[in-house]
Amino acid sequence: MQSPHNRSFTSATQAYSMPFWGIGCVALVLFLFSCSSIRPSHRETPLVEESAIPPRYSIVCIIHGDGGYLYHDLHGNEYRADEEALGRVTTVAAQNPQAEVFIFHERRRRHALLFFPLRDGKFYYYRNGQLLAEEDYWRDKGESRSDPEVDLYNRFRAEERPGLVRLFLYFGHEIPEFGGAGYDASYKNQTFTVDDLAGGLERITRDSTKFDLIVLSTCFNGTPYTIAALAPYARYIIASPGNLHLSYFDLNPFERLDVRLRDGDVSAFANKFARQAFDRLISDVQTEVTVAVYDVGRVQGFLHSIDSVYDHTLTTLKGETPASLEHCDCAEDPAYVLPGMSDGVDLFYRPPLFGRSKHKQSHSGWECWRHLK
């Protein structure tokens, strides 16, 4: 028989134990959800219904959002560059009835109840203008950084048809040529460099087919090293040798590729895209605007002639602190001013409207490194 003391103790503990059990169950469910290895895949329509029309165009798009991507328009309104890019790319995907589009949004890691990590990658797959799959994924699963995305690409890609036009778009901060720690705010000890990107592209292109066009919507990736690293995987590359405002490139030309790229002339398309991106940027921003189109076949001569010079520079710089280095036009270093420097480079350039460089009237189309003066 329970004593009065035990009875009151039991009833008191019962009164407190119920809410604790409830909270514990909720926490356990959230924990199991966040740890789950089962990928919750959400398909809008069965893929088998769409496979009757093989795509003519394939667009792979990576949008990096794990960092500082805030910007403002001229009216002071705030935007996140990755969210804006995502909106534009999904419009491109929905407006292309003959394309398959893979969108990878790399987001900052968040936690449920402060402790339980949530999936930090979001994947969208469109085919023929329809969203067929939308899936959250873990960005840090796999031996290499590109494993989750290559895996998703291989799971969903349509069977290739002859004459498929392949496009790759990257949106984010400058992809480092060395070091690369802290590129992802959520994974400060992990590194991401141009070589990592090239490795991912190699796995996607697999059997030595190239992307017809790679667009790097980043700052300072129009460099000899970056273009040389990506050259095996592309016929044309669009990049900014200088600064690029976070409002990025205008993607309007990618809508209705069946109309705009009907003739398959990727070179003309790339130039038109670069011109349109340039025109939009110079109407909005006061900072420097450079957009370069690199014909990979035609720039190889120049790249071969300076690769040992640039490699030596990089080797020297790897031991320096980033704060002691800055980018510069390669034309400011006589070692790079060689015949053929401009071959294969179509450049759209406008200097900043303020600052020390406002009187710099031209740019070589290639960006290099130097020590801060």
Binding site: L70, G76, R108, A185, Q286, F354
Partner: protein, 146 residues
């Protein structure tokens, strides 16, 4: 006013910690975006110039104080140094000193946009730790509130 300032500081610290600022430059961008909005809202060039100058000076003073803190890492100190140098260049251009041509009255709105946009590039932006970002925000608020 003091109570509101303290509440603003506490609120800012809470938001900064909760949002886990990546890079720490977001609030500095917002600060200069506010400056640009105030510049454009004013018709008088002398007032525009004063708003810009004051804003650049407050941020410079803030960074001086943050740099003086023993809590700041070597990497953050280097980042802040670069940022301070960039701010000084803008002040010099605004006033026409150190070899710069003075920003004309008709260009003050555009210059205020330039100050904001120069921080909003897709490069490896100035990155500071959360602690440093909090210190910058707190000191900036306190300096503005004076």
């Amino acid at each position: 006013m003091k109570a509101r300032t303290i509440l603003g500081v506490i609120g800012m610290m809470f938001v900064l910690v909760q949002s886990g600022i990546a890079g720490g430059s977001g609030d500095i961008q917002k600060y200069f975006n506010d400056t640009a909005c105030k510049v454009k809202a004013t018709a008088e060039p002398s007032q525009k110039r004063e708003i810009l100058n004051s804003s650049l000076q407050i941020m410079s003073k803030t960074l001086d104080k943050v740099q003086g803190s023993l809590l700041i890492s070597k990497e953050d100190r280097a980042s802040i140094n670069r940022f301070k140098a960039a701010l000084q260049e803008k002040q010099d251009e605004l006033t026409g000193s150190n070899g710069y041509e003075r920003v004309s009255d008709t260009q003050l709105n555009a210059f205020s946009d330039y100050v904001v946009q120069d921080m909003e590039q897709a490069s490896k932006t100035i990155t500071v730790t959360v602690l440093t970002a909090i210190l910058i925000a707190v000191i900036a608020i306190l300096l503005i509130a004076r």
